[in-house]
């Protein structure tokens, strides 16, 4: 299996290289000058040019790209133009926020998404199925930023249940304040994932419930709970685990919007600020780290396959 993992990691290298070139090109294609962002809108052209020279932004793009790769080869992801700190350190400071948000969101997503999917499949074509599917459709269709703003207006301003914005670290506020600062954004972030997971679970479950072994189990007199939760559910795990990998990636990606709406100082907000300020090293480095995280998640999913289905082998 280790050989398989190594092979997957080595296959990821060209993927990440192509990805990094794409991010580099896309960032530089955007109109707007990072030197102007740093200097401010009142700065003279000479002052802006001075900053551009200091940052090496006046050199040809291929040179800048090669230099970035040279730094990457030594493990240096670059230094943020605006934060004046290394990209790895900037990401490291904000990682706990994004991980906390994704974790709480995942905890919300898994039982509800899978549960709704199973319920809809079991009572297929009933009003229950219709309700679940409409809810799932709404979940995947409603834009997160809009739901987030409405949620703040209702649950924070009108009802006063949750803080409208901000993050309280676990080490500072304790478990309750940490959780309270995350629960609202995590639920908003989970809405899309719940809808997505419910639809996939329902579809996979329907396939399995029509299989002969389910009919056999029922003919043998096995009770319905065991049929669904043990025999049927275990056989839907492969597509669910596949979706979980995507879900985790989407949670991290979705945090870009949700962190902005709820003012959470995580990686998503860092990327948005980086893009708005055209902080090239920050966005390139962070995106590359994101890309690497997605690769690792996919490898983990592959490993989980071997536990879920013993017939799957790597290496």
């Amino acid at each position: 299996m280790y050989r398989g993992i190594l092979m997957r990691l080595s296959q990821a290298v060209p993927v990440l290289l192509i990805f990094s070139v794409m991010v580099f090109m896309l960032m530089h294609l955007l109109p707007g000058d990072p030197a102007q962002a740093i200097a401010g809108s009142d700065a003279s052209e000479e002052a802006v040019e001075k900053i551009r020279e200091q940052l090496g932004l006046n050199r040809p793009l291929p040179i800048q790209l090669l230099e970035w790769f040279a730094h990457l080869a030594t493990g240096n992801f670059g230094e943020s133009l605006t934060l004046k700190q290394s990209v790895v350190s900037a990401v490291g400071e904000r990682l706990p926020v994004t991980l906390s948000l994704s974790l709480v969101s995942l905890v919300v997503t898994l039982p509800i998404g899978i549960g709704l999917g199973m319920v809809a499949a079991y009572w297929r074509n009933s009003w229950i199925d219709a309700c679940v599917m409409v809810t799932a459709l709404l979940g995947v269709s409603l834009p997160g930023f809009w739901v987030g703003i409405l949620s703040v207006l209702y649950f924070s301003v009108t009802l006063g249940w949750f803080p409208p914005s901000g993050y309280v670290p676990l080490s500072e506020g304790g478990l309750w304040l940490w959780f309270a600062s995350l629960v609202q954004p995590a639920i908003v972030l989970a809405l899309f994932q719940i809808g997505f997971l419910a639809r996939i679970t329902r579809s996979a479950m329907l396939d399995v419930l029509d299989q002969d072994f389910i009919r056999t189990a029922r003919a043998k007199g096995v009770d319905e709970w065991t049929v669904v939760s043990k025999h049927a559910f275990r056989n839907t795990l492969i597509p669910i685990v596949t979706v979980l990998g995507i879900t985790l990636s989407l949670l991290i990606g979705g945090s870009v919007v949700i962190e902005q709406v709820f003012a959470l100082p995580g990686i998503g907000r860092l990327i948005v600020q980086g893009i708005l300020n055209r902080d090239y090293p920050l966005v390139q480095g962070t995106m590359l780290l994101f890309g690497f995280a997605f690769v690792v998640i996919n490898i983990l999913v592959d490993i989980i396959y071997t536990f879920v289905d013993p017939r799957v082998r790597y290496g």
Binding site: D42, S44, L276
Partner: protein, 519 residues
């Protein structure tokens, strides 16, 4: 030489009755003020740097002016007033400026502010600031003693003190050991009424009351960024909430005590809450259309003038919903440089026939006119959308491009991108006066006939008397508006909101937390 130059032109005495009056209004009875308490201010986007010498954004400057101080600063009426200087003497035909420092002022680290620190700060500023043009005419500095600092200029500059008061890229006085620190890498040690306690990037920043603050006892009370500043609050926490909806929710939910500028339509959401109040800051910015005189259609003066002729200010203001006042000039009505009705002929023409006639005269044949705006500032975007409609009525084929703020402002400053007209808000330039417009005008690479502007600015800086300076500014403003490089729309205000437990809140360009306290 001329008597006025030999005298101390700035002292700590009140400058004008108007200033005294406005400032008396801002001060509540002393008995109401009490020390202690903490407030949270929902500020805009995050802060990149607390280095005053390179800070140009409002969010950064609001914090910086609580921590750092300058030799002269803006008063309540945005005129120059000594702050760390006790007095300023101007001599040698406005080529020599002698600053006598206020005695006993200390940095947050306990060091006394001396002329050596002032010299080090000026030298650092000249090396790293984005506004080095401020000191480009300096021939030498002189430090005769620990309390005196003298600046010698190569040429007369009657506006030097006015330029020195600029709150953007403030020439703050830092401890001498910060002199060689690169831009954005200083330790935040100033002389201000608050010290930096913590700063979590992208999240929040906390300022703590400077218990050892050297109060300017010569002043009767606080005066703009200067005067007798007293810190009553123990701490001020700045939460960085870029989204206005998040700021408003923080105030309504009790998480914030005051919030930075909100779009006007958000204010309605405060409803009838008696514990919340609004603060209207007026004037705050000038809304202006800027034409790209170096690109395609708008390279023709007649086309630019046709655009100006089509502008209907009332419709634009109705769409933006911001508090606004009509004003044809590039400076505010209270300024001695305000040109009054002299610029009225260029303002709010709302004459479609004139626009069509000018278009025909220019040989316009339905070519596309690109109006560029940004997604970050709704009042700019609304103004451009209304202008597009007005131009279409005049028979112009318009296209609206929406980009983000950085792309929009970079294009505006550098003349890049394929655009013909954009809308922007000029904030500090009209507030601080004609001298502040210079860098903005000269940075626009597409403005022609620089010779006329050069001559007028030369006269403005060299003239010891006010009348020639005023005449020079009138020439500059007329040229900019007549040639329709700039098309003035209106003066805009800003609206902030706060919880009424916070006392002493007074409208000012920057949100200040000295001389405010909590009940």
């Amino acid at each position: 030489m001329a008597g006025w130059l030999g005298r101390a032109v700035l002292t700590c005495a009140p400058l004008a009755l108007a200033v005294a009056a406005s400032f008396a209004l801002a001060i509540a009875p002393a008995s109401a003020q009490k020390r202690g308490g903490a407030v949270t201010y929902a500020s805009g986007g995050g802060i990149g740097s607390l280095d005053p010498h390179v800070a140009g954004s409002l969010v950064e400057l609001e914090v910086i002016h609580h921590v750092f101080e300058t030799l002269v600063a803006m008063d309540e009426s945005y005129n120059a007033r000594p702050m760390l200087a006790a007095a300023v003497q101007v001599g040698d035909q406005a080529r020599r400026f002698r600053f006598t420092l206020r005695k006993g002022v200390r940095f947050h680290n306990g060091e006394v502010v001396t002329s050596a620190a002032v010299l080090a700060s000026f030298e650092r500023y000249a090396m790293i600031s984005t506004n080095t043009a401020l000191l480009e005419d300096v021939s030498r500095y002189e430090v005769p003693d620990a309390d005196t600092f003298v600046v010698h200029l190569k040429a007369s500059n009657a506006m030097f003190i006015e330029m020195l008061k600029s709150p953007t890229y403030p020439l703050a006085i830092l401890p001498p050991d910060q002199k060689d620190r690169p831009g954005r890498e200083i330790e935040p040690i100033g002389t201000g009424p608050f010290t930096l306690e913590t700063w979590e990037k992208d999240s929040h920043l906390i300022l703590r009351r400077n218990a050892a603050y050297s109060v300017d006892r010569s002043a009767a009370g606080p005066d703009g960024l200067a005067g007798r500043k007293t810190a009553y609050l123990d701490t001020v926490r700045y939460d960085f909430l870029a989204e206005p909806a998040a700021r408003l929710a923080a105030l309504q939910g009790g998480q914030a005590d005051a919030v930075a500028n909100l779009p006007a339509d958000y204010i309605r959401r405060l409803g009838d809450r008696t514990d919340l109040a609004t603060l209207q800051v007026f004037p705050f910015c000038q809304l202006m259309f800027v034409t790209h005189a170096g690109n395609g259609l708008t390279a023709k003066t007649l086309i630019r003038q046709a655009i100006r002729a089509a502008v209907n200010v009332d419709d634009i203001l109705a769409a933006s919903g911001q508090p606004a006042r009509r004003n044809p000039s590039l400076v505010y009505p209270g300024s001695p440089y305000h040109t009054g009705d002299a610029s009225a002929e260029f303002y709010d023409r709302r004459n479609l026939d004139e626009a069509r006639a000018l278009l025909a005269q220019a040989g316009y044949n339905g070519e596309k006119l690109v109006l560029q705006t940004n997604s970050s500032f709704s009042y700019m975007r609304d103004a451009i959308l209304v202008l597009a409609g007005q131009l279409r009525e005049a028979g112009v084929n318009t296209e609206v491009q929406v980009v983000d703020w950085l792309a929009n402002s970079t294009n505006l400053r550098r003349g890049t991108g394929n655009w013909n007209v954009t809308a922007t808000g000029f904030c500090t330039q009209p507030l601080l006066g004609p001298q502040q417009w210079r860098s903005q005008i000269y940075t626009n690479p597409h403005i022609r006939d620089r010779a006329g502007l050069d001559d007028a600015y030369r006269r403005m800086f060299a003239s010891p008397e006010f009348a020639p300076r005023q005449a020079a500014w009138r020439q500059i403003e007329t040229q900019l508006l007549d040639q329709a490089y700039f098309i003035k729309v209106a003066d805009l205000g800003a609206v902030r909101a706060y919880n009424t437990r916070l006392q002493g809140m007074a409208p000012y360009f920057f949100q200040r937390f000295w001389n405010t306290w909590v009940n």
